[in-house]
C-alpha cells in the first residue's frame, strides 16, 4: 500500500483540485438547478479530499491508539483535519438538503429547472 501511495503523491492533490474544478464548472455552466447542486457537492468532495490529503503523513497510521497497551505511536496522520472534514461533511449534507428542497420549491413555482428562466428578480 505504501508503494502505491508513492506515485500517487501528486495524484491526491491533483484529483482533489480537478474535482473542485469540475464541480465549479458544473455549478457555473450547467443550466439545470439539480446539476448546479451536484456541482456544489462535487466541489465539497474535492475540498474534503484536499483537506485529508494535507493531513496525511507518509507511512502514518490512523490516529487511533490500539493494541494491548495503547502505546503512543510515533507516526500518526493528522487527526485535526479529519475532525474538520467530519464536521464539513455533515454541514455539506445539510446545505445540500436545503438546496434540493429549494429546487423542489422553484420547480413548483416556475415549472422549470432552467436557471436562465428563473430570474424574476434582477436589476
Amino acid at each position: 500500500m505504501d508503494n502505491s501511495l508513492q506515485y500517487l503523491e501528486i495524484g491526491f492533490y491533483g484529483s482533489a483540485i480537478i474535482l473542485i474544478l469540475v464541480g465549479l464548472y458544473g455549478a457555473l455552466m450547467k443550466k439545470s438547478l439539480i446539476k448546479i447542486v451536484i456541482g456544489l457537492s462535487i466541489i465539497d468532495a474535492g475540498l474534503h479530499l484536499l483537506m485529508i490529503s494535507i493531513g496525511y503523513i507518509k507511512n502514518g497510521t490512523a490516529p487511533i491508539f490500539s493494541g494491548e497497551d495503547f502505546v503512543v505511536a510515533g507516526n500518526m496522520v493528522d487527526p485535526v483535519v479529519q475532525a474538520l472534514v467530519l464536521t464539513a461533511i455533515v454541514i455539506g449534507f445539510g446545505v445540500t438538503a436545503v438546496a434540493l428542497s429549494l429546487v423542489i420549491r422553484l420547480y413548483r413555482h416556475h415549472g422549470t429547472l432552467k436557471i436562465d428562466e428563473i430570474k424574476n428578480l434582477k436589476w
Binding site: 475540498l47 485535526v80 474538520l84 464536521t87 429549494l102
Partner: protein, 494 residues
C-alpha cells in the same frame, strides 16, 4: 461578572431544542420562548459589556482546554459591543414579528422563530469565537437559517432569491475551507490568536492566498462588490423583519469577520488599501443601482450594500479614528436601516409588487409609519441633528486625517445620489397623490413599538452622541491593539 459568554451560544441552542418539545404541549411557547431568551441574553451582554469596559476582555475557554488547543470565545469591548447591538436588534425583530406571523400556521411559525433565533445566535457566535473553523461553523448556521428564512413566504419569488444566496453561500464556504486548510497546513493551529502570533513565519505566497480566500469567502457575507448579487434579491424577498435582521445583524457579523481577519490575524498592510478600494467600488455600484430601483425593498437593499461599502472604506483607513468611525457607521446603519426596513415594509404592505410608487400619499393615512420612514431617510443620508450625521462626520474626519481627499469627494458625491433616491420616496409619501389601489395597513402594536424605539434612538443619539462615543472609543482601541488580543487569549489559564 454575572455570566459567561458561552451562554450566548448555549442558551439559544438549548431553547431551540426545547421549543419543538414545548410546542407540542403549549403552542404559544414557540413565540414567547425566543423572546425570553433574547431578553435574557441582552441583559447578560449589557452586564458583561459593563464588566468588560472596566476590567478588560473576558476570554472564555471551552471544554477545559486552554487556547490554542481548545476553542475559546472572546468577549472584548469590540466584540461585546457588536454582540449587544445584534441582540438588541434581534430582540426588536422578535417584537416586530411576534404578531406579524399570526396568520401563519403553527408549524412554519415554530420554524420561523427557531430559525430567527439561530440566525441571531449564529451571528453572535461569529463575533464571539476565537477560532477560525468554529467561525466557519457559525457562518454555516447563519447561512442555513438565512436560506430558510428567505424562502419563508411561499407565494413570492423567495425561493429564487434563497437559491441564489445558497449558491453564493456554498462558494463562500468552499473558499473559507480552502483558506482555513492553507493556514492550518502552515501553522498547525486554528486559533486566531495563535495564528496571529505566528503569521509572520508563513511564506507570503500562502499568506496572501489564504487572505484572498478569506476575503472572498467572507466578502460574500459582507456584501462586498462584486460578490453581493444575492443581497438585493434576498432583502426584497425575505419577510420584512428578516430583511432588517440581515441588514442589521448578519451583514455586521460578516464585516466583523473580515475585519478580524485583516486587523488581527494577518499582518498584510496592502489589505487595508484593498478594503478602501473595494469599499468604494461597492459603494459606487450599490448607490447607482439603488437610484434606479422601482421597488421599495430592493432600493433599501442596495442602499444597505452601499453603506456596508462605506463601512469597509472606514475600516480600510486603518487608524483608530477610522475604526471608530466605522463602528459608529455600523451602529447607525444597523439602527437606521432596521427602522427603514420596518417602516418601509409596512408602507408597501398591501401592495403586490412593492413598487415605490405605491407609497404615494400614504403620509396622511399612516402618519406614524411615514414619519418614522422619513426620519430614517433623513438620518441615513446624514442630515443633522440625527444619528447618521455624526458617523458621517467622524468618518470624513478620519479620512481627511489620513489624507484621502479625493475619496472624501467621491463619497460625498455618492451621498448626493443617496439623498436623491431617499428624498424621492419621502416626497412621494408626503407630497404626492395617493394611488387608488393601495390600501394602507395599520402597523400592529408590536411593530409600532419596535419602530418607535428605533426612531427614538435615532433622535437621541443625534442630540447626544456622547452616549455612544465612549464605548465606541473603547471598542476601537480594543480592535487596534493586536498584541493585547494575542496575549490575552494565549495567557488564559483554566
Amino acid at each position: 461578572m454575572v455570566g459567561s459568554p458561552v451562554l450566548f451560544i448555549a442558551i439559544p441552542l438549548l431553547a431551540a431544542f426545547i421549543i419543538p418539545l414545548l410546542g407540542m404541549i403549549w403552542k404559544e411557547s414557540v413565540r414567547i420562548l425566543p423572546g425570553l431568551v433574547l431578553v435574557y441574553l441582552l441583559t447578560l451582554s449589557i452586564n458583561l459589556l459593563g464588566y468588560v469596559l472596566d476590567n478588560g476582555p473576558i476570554i472564555e475557554i471551552i471544554a477545559g482546554w486552554t487556547p490554542p488547543w481548545g476553542i475559546n470565545l472572546v468577549f472584548s469591548a469590540f466584540s461585546g459591543f457588536l454582540v449587544t447591538l445584534m441582540l438588541f436588534l434581534g430582540l426588536l425583530v422578535w417584537i416586530y414579528s411576534y404578531r406579524f406571523k399570526r396568520n401563519v400556521d403553527f408549524e412554519p411559525a415554530k420554524k420561523y422563530f427557531i430559525l430567527l433565533m439561530m440566525l441571531i445566535t449564529g451571528s453572535v457566535g461569529i463575533v464571539l469565537t476565537g477560532d477560525i473553523f468554529n467561525q466557519f461553523v457559525f457562518i454555516e448556521i447563519v447561512g442555513i437559517s438565512a436560506y430558510a428564512l428567505t424562502a419563508f413566504y411561499t407565494g413570492r419569488d423567495s425561493a429564487e432569491a434563497s437559491f441564489k444566496y445558497l449558491i453564493m453561500g456554498s462558494l463562500s464556504a468552499g473558499f473559507l475551507l480552502l483558506a482555513i486548510v492553507i493556514l492550518y497546513s502552515q501553522l498547525g493551529t486554528l486559533n486566531m490568536a495563535d495564528i496571529a502570533r505566528n503569521i509572520h513565519t508563513v511564506k507570503p505566497v500562502y499568506k496572501i492566498t489564504a487572505l484572498i480566500f478569506f476575503i472572498v469567502g467572507l466578502g460574500i457575507e459582507a456584501e462586498m462588490f462584486p460578490l453581493n448579487g444575492w443581497a438585493p434579491d434576498v432583502y426584497s424577498q425575505a419577510p420584512g423583519p428578516v430583511g432588517a435582521a440581515f441588514a442589521g445583524i448578519v451583514v455586521k457579523s460578516g464585516v466583523y469577520a473580515i475585519i478580524r481577519i485583516v486587523y488581527t490575524i494577518f499582518d498584510i498592510e496592502g489589505a487595508f488599501d484593498f478594503l478602501v478600494i473595494i469599499g468604494l467600488i461597492t459603494l459606487l455600484f450599490a448607490e447607482t443601482a439603488a437610484i434606479k430601483q422601482i421597488r421599495m425593498k430592493r432600493m433599501l437593499a442596495y442602499s444597505s450594500i452601499g453603506q456596508m461599502g462605506l463601512v469597509l472604506v472606514a475600516f480600510g483607513i486603518g487608524t483608530e479614528a477610522g475604526v471608530f468611525a466605522a463602528l459608529f457607521l455600523m451602529f447607525n446603519h444597523a439602527i437606521i436601516k432596521s427602522l427603514l426596513f420596518y417602516a418601509g415594509s409596512y408602507l408597501v404592505f398591501n401592495s403586490k409588487e412593492k413598487y415605490i410608487n405605491d407609497v404615494s400619499g400614504l403620509g396622511k393615512s399612516m402618519p406614524i409609519t411615514s414619519f418614522l420612514f422619513a426620519l430614517g431617510a433623513f438620518a441615513i443620508v446624514g442630515l443633522p441633528p440625527f444619528a447618521g450625521f455624526w458617523s458621517k462626520l467622524y468618518f470624513l474626519i478620519a479620512a481627511a486625517d489620513s489624507g484621502m481627499i479625493m475619496i472624501i469627494a467621491l463619497i460625498l458625491i455618492v451621498s448626493i445620489v443617496e439623498i436623491v433616491y431617499y428624498f424621492r420616496v419621502v416626497n412621494k409619501i408626503y407630497f404626492s397623490k395617493k394611488e387608488a389601489h393601495v390600501v394602507p395597513q395599520r402597523p400592529t402594536f408590536n411593530a409600532l413599538f419596535s419602530m418607535i424605539v428605533l426612531g427614538l434612538i435615532v433622535i437621541i443619539i443625534g442630540f447626544f452622541p456622547d452616549l455612544i462615543t465612549g464605548i465606541l472609543h473603547d471598542a476601537s482601541r480594543d480592535l487596534m491593539d493586536k498584541t493585547d488580543y494575542i496575549n490575552n487569549v494565549l495567557s488564559i489559564t483554566h
